[in-house]
């Protein structure tokens, strides 16, 4: 069972990820983003990077919150 404090992370990048994917599908489907064009390819990569950037920041933050506690030396102090 995933601890309850992970639910927001899973929800944010699950539901948010679904919104993000719908956006990607729309811009590709309507040819607003044409991947054969170099500039569009670059910005499409930027979109994916931004998603991973935030998911990564929040993941590292979670791990730091749970596992780093200088005073106690282990775990969170709840």
């Amino acid at each position: 069972m995933v601890p309850e404090y992970w639910w927001p992370y899973v929800y944010q990048y699950g539901v948010g990820g679904a919104i993000f994917l719908i956006g990607l599908w729309l811009i590709l489907g309507y040819k607003s983003c044409v991947l054969s064009r170099r500039q569009d390819r670059f910005w499409f990569g930027v979109l994916l990077f931004g998603f991973l950037w935030y998911a990564g920041i929040h993941l590292v933050w979670y791990l730091a919150a749970i596992y780093i506690n200088p005073a106690v030396g282990q775990g969170g102090n709840g």
Binding site: E4, Q12, I27, F51, Y62, A71
Partner: protein
């Protein structure tokens, strides 16, 4: 020193001197840019000439209001680092913005959100949007005046009404003189100032927590005196009712993110001030990936520090959370530094007010004065009117601020309620209009009116929202309301009305909405250029400038309307300049292509520059031939070389 003693030491001569210097500097600096506003396009959109870094930094200041410091410090004190949630959930709508809304507004040259409503849906929807937006923006200006007045009164013992009047006078003068250019440059300074002040406060706070050990001890002390729940980046999934993750996700991550990106007139004007759509994309990338996380630290850290201080026994556990910012700032700052922090607080306010004032004036000029009161006048008439309306907007904003001050929290509650009612329906109308071709004008009208009415009714009958709240296990707050879930309710009901009515009514013909929805971006680019785009990638060049009337034209001399462009699309109108044959080959430029000619000093951010069209090549060496009028319009300097790049 106790917090009470520290508070008593505030407002020293140094603090007053720093704040006075700041006011004089901003007034002179902003007014300097009056010389760059020669038309309404300059006044409201800075001639579409600026680089991404200039716009991105100025947006940092706009996004942080003076209330942000107080509000997020309060949340930080109550709940810890999860006060950052609202600054870290904006990326999901980036595909819609970067490849949808941004090209639509940039290439269609809409000057305001209500104008988009007129072109996409018709006059009825425009009028409704104008009314909603003016009430929202003027109320927001008043609210910002009020919050700064309150903070200044508490900290420096300056009368609330005096503080509001001084701020209103200074911002009104430089906005009326310099327009959007003054707003962008002053906001650049103010953005740098408030970010550095916020980070300085965090640094000093950590130092304070470290005692003799300084930062090396302060950081571990800070971290270890927060509980696990206070260290996590998100609050509880569905509790407490007034600050739970899932409610904030739908209210802020979805509704407010779309509002911020799609219907914020001030923000739209910033993107319209960018020299190209690519610069607009760079701006939003830098803003969301770097500036927003920084802003989250800047506005919330006083509350986080305060919470750690409670853990260390420095502050009492029952400290009023609304006083967290003031208490912590007064505790860790020395006199003088405190003045700097207070000036930053003022900067946060002024940068939000100037953007809102400029945006409100744009709506009043483009959506009220020009179409209905004085149509068909020359541009210099509208420029004069724009300056006057800016002054009037500031005065009205100040008046609303006084009403806030008189009625206090009740007025804030009414304004917040109004925003909560009108925002979701407008958001739905813009979003469906931009991404669904089948969305009809009738559906847009009823999405806004019907959706708004249902949300309004839900404020009396919160039970209507209960099924949505139950989906995520969110309970009612102390008043029996589901405030955070109202946005989801509004989005779903307005969206449902829009979809159902669209299925039974007739959409506008495709030819009339070309360039206004995502599936027509290839046409939008063509209309913007006034010809077929040239996507060949070439080099940028640096060349001298030479004035010549032969084969060049002034700005606005020629207007090109593509035969398949809808009637509402403004024609493409650029000055024609001529490049050397060799330069055109290096740049892969053909006659008719769209160029950007700017002073070669990048740090100017595009202040001296112009969009042009390439004319026939010449053989006079590495120079750009330009007409005298275009030279003046670009504010170029004769001896300075220019950098030339091709757009498409």
């Amino acid at each position: 020193m106790t917090s009470q003693a520290a508070l008593a030491a505030m407002g020293t001569g140094w603090d007053y001197a720093i704040i006075a210097f700041y006011f004089v500097f901003i007034l002179s600096f902003g007014s300097f840019f009056g010389r760059f506003s020669k038309s309404t396009r300059d006044f409201f959109f800075s001639g579409q000439r600026f680089s991404w870094w200039l716009i991105a930094m100025s947006m940092a200041a706009t996004g942080v209001g003076s209330y942000s410091f107080v509000k997020y410090s309060q949340k930080g004190f109550e709940y810890g680092l999860s006060s950052s949630m609202t600054y870290m959930n904006d990326w999901f709508f980036m595909p819609f913005f970067m490849f949808g809304w941004l090209p639509i507004i940039y290439f269609s040259r809409v000057k305001s959100i209500p104008e988009y409503f007129e072109r996409r849906f018709g006059t009825k929807c425009r009028i409704m949007a104008v009314i909603f937006m003016l009430m929202y923006m003027i109320g927001y200006i008043g609210y910002n005046f009020f919050t700064l007045g309150t903070v200044t009164e508490a900290l420096l013992d300056v009368n609330l009404y005096t503080a509001m009047s001084v701020i209103a006078l200074i911002s009104a003068v430089y906005i009326a003189v310099g327009g959007q250019t003054a707003v962008i440059f002053t906001d650049l300074v103010q953005g740098l100032m408030l970010i550095s002040a916020g980070l300085l406060l965090f640094f000093l706070g950590l130092w304070y927590l470290g005692g003799d050990g300084g930062l090396a001890t302060g950081l571990p002390n800070f971290w270890s005196n927060l509980t696990l729940a206070q260290r996590l980046p998100f609050s509880g999934f569905n509790k407490p009712p007034d600050f739970n993750f899932v409610g904030i996700f739908w209210q802020d991550g979805v509704a407010s993110s779309i509002t911020f990106l799609f219907i914020n007139q001030g923000l739209i004007m910033r993107f319209m001030a960018a020299k190209s759509m690519t610069e607009g994309r760079r701006t939003i990338l830098f803003n969301v990936c770097l500036i927003l996380p920084l802003s989250m630290i800047v506005v919330g850290n006083a509350g986080w520090l305060g919470r750690a201080m409670v853990g260390m026994g420095i502050l009492p556990d029952d400290l009023d959370p609304t006083k967290a910012f003031v208490t912590v700032a007064s505790l860790v700052c020395l006199p003088g530094v405190f003045g700097f922090v207070l000036a930053a607080l003022t900067a946060a306010l002024m940068s939000t007010i100037d953007t809102l004032t400029n945006a409100t004036s744009a709506v009043l000029i483009y959506d009220v004065y020009q179409p209905y009161i004085r149509p068909g006048r020359p541009d210099r008439h509208y420029l004069r009117a724009a300056r006057l309306i800016s002054l009037c907007t500031s005065a009205v904003g100040l008046g609303v601020g006084c009403i806030f001050a008189y009625y206090g929290e009740d007025m804030y509650y009414i304004h917040a309620k109004f925003i909560g009612i009108v925002t979701p329906p407008i958001v739905v109308a813009v979003f469906l209009g931009a991404f669904w071709k089948r969305y009809t004008p009738t559906a847009a009208f009823w999405s806004m009116l019907g959706g708004g009415l249902l949300i309004w009714i839900s404020t009396f009958k919160p039970g209507m929202i209960k099924p949505f709240a139950d989906l995520f296990g969110v309970g009612p707050d102390g008043k029996g309301d589901y405030g955070y879930m109202r946005s989801l309710f509004g989005l779903v009901t307005s969206g449902a009305i829009g979809v159902i009515i669209s299925l039974f009514t007739r959409p506008k013909p495709q030819s009339e909405i070309a360039g206004l929805w995502i599936g027509s971006m290839h046409l939008a680019r063509k209309f913007f250029k006034g010809g077929q785009p040239n996507f060949e990638i070439g080099q940028k060049i640096v060349a001298g400038l030479k004035m010549s009337a032969e084969g060049t034209t002034r700005p606005g001399a020629e207007e090109i309307r593509m035969p398949d462009a809808p009637a509402h699309q403004p024609p493409a109108s650029y000055a024609v300049v001529r490049l050397a044959t060799a330069d055109m080959e290096r740049m892969k430029v053909k006659p008719g292509d769209l160029l950007y000619v700017g002073d070669s000093r990048r740090w100017l951010g595009g202040l001296r520059s112009l969009h042009c069209r390439a004319g026939q090549p010449h053989d006079q060496g590495n120079v750009v031939l330009i007409s005298e009028e275009a030279f003046k319009a670009g504010s170029f300097i004769p001896t300075r070389p220019v950098r030339v790049e091709k757009f498409f």
